[in-house]
Symmetry: C2
Subunit: 214 residues, 2 copies
Amino acid sequence: MNPLTQQWHLQFFDHFVNLVRSPDGDFESIEQLANDLNQPSSLKALIEKLSQNLQGKQAFQQPPRLGYVNLQQLHHLPPKNLGYHYAEHVTRQVIQQDLTPFHENPLQANSDAEFLVAHIRETHEPWHLLTGFSTTIIGEIQLQAFYAAQLHGYRFWLALLAKNLLKSAVFDLDISEQYMDTLTQGWRIGKQAKSLLGIEWSTQWGLAFHEVQA
Amino acid sequence: MNPLTQQWHLQFFDHFVNLVRSPDGDFESIEQLANDLNQPSSLKALIEKLSQNLQGKQAFQQPPRLGYVNLQQLHHLPPKNLGYHYAEHVTRQVIQQDLTPFHENPLQANSDAEFLVAHIRETHEPWHLLTGFSTTIIGEIQLQAFYAAQLHGYRFWLALLAKNLLKSAVFDLDISEQYMDTLTQGWRIGKQAKSLLGIEWSTQWGLAFHEVQA
């Protein structure tokens, strides 16, 4: 049942340990792990699972892309609008940390698998915004557990949760209680909330933020 | 702040990966990880933390040992008694799986640190019994999270939770949802329940099971 090779395992566990030993937000190490875990066979099984409900099925039939996001324009929308909140969030949480918003480097999506990876990546900030989970490590753990709950069996998010638990066990025991609390909370909210998979964000900017969030 | 050496890290991460790749219940690999994580400096900090409340403090001042457990004798107690339930549990869950009950090989306890390790080990089955968490991998994960909640910052239990999440991510994705459910449940119950640390089980066998459990 396990299509992953011995070589894959060696590489994956190397990358996992490397990530545990890296500082939070080491995107190169995170990307390595994502590459290991986004194997075609894994993604195929996941897509089948996600397509079992209508919303998931539609996402793959008519894949919504985030597209170009004009933050300045969104910033001129009324402050109650989702677009305004999004521009605020990306400016404060991403650009001010010297990071490039994912929408500026959209990934190719010529297959269901490529779409899924691109979609998860480019909607990461909308998911932060909608869930209200911050971009600190605490908020990221909440969101990782939320992803794990909403995208049943997405290897990458489970591995990141395992990474963070192990990291706190080895390097920062005092934070472990908060990690477990936020993991539990993110999982619970992710199971209760409506699925965020496949939402076409580019058509939502003009809506009231609190309505979309509800 | 981190007293653990480079050599320690290499060894620990080797043992961790080894445990992820081992079948469930590989006690040799679990023991290796426990030895890595029960470093004197870790245990010292933990004992200070656990001693901050009266129950914890008393446990180290008058360390209760499980002592010799006569299962046959306990089996003759009335079926409502804790002792009868304990004999049933150990017979069915431990001995029938060809395992040796921990009470048959008690560890030495000549210091607070040695007592803590011995106590956690020899009260593992009473904790299973009281919490109602089974001895399947699902029950073990619940109990690991319960331990993590009750013994704030016990490295070993956090590492086992990380191990199980990673293991499901790599080897058995279909079980990951159940793992996350039981992890979050064990954590929640562990935080809400009265502390089980330092209970002198040998004086409780004659009590009614449901009263002790309540």
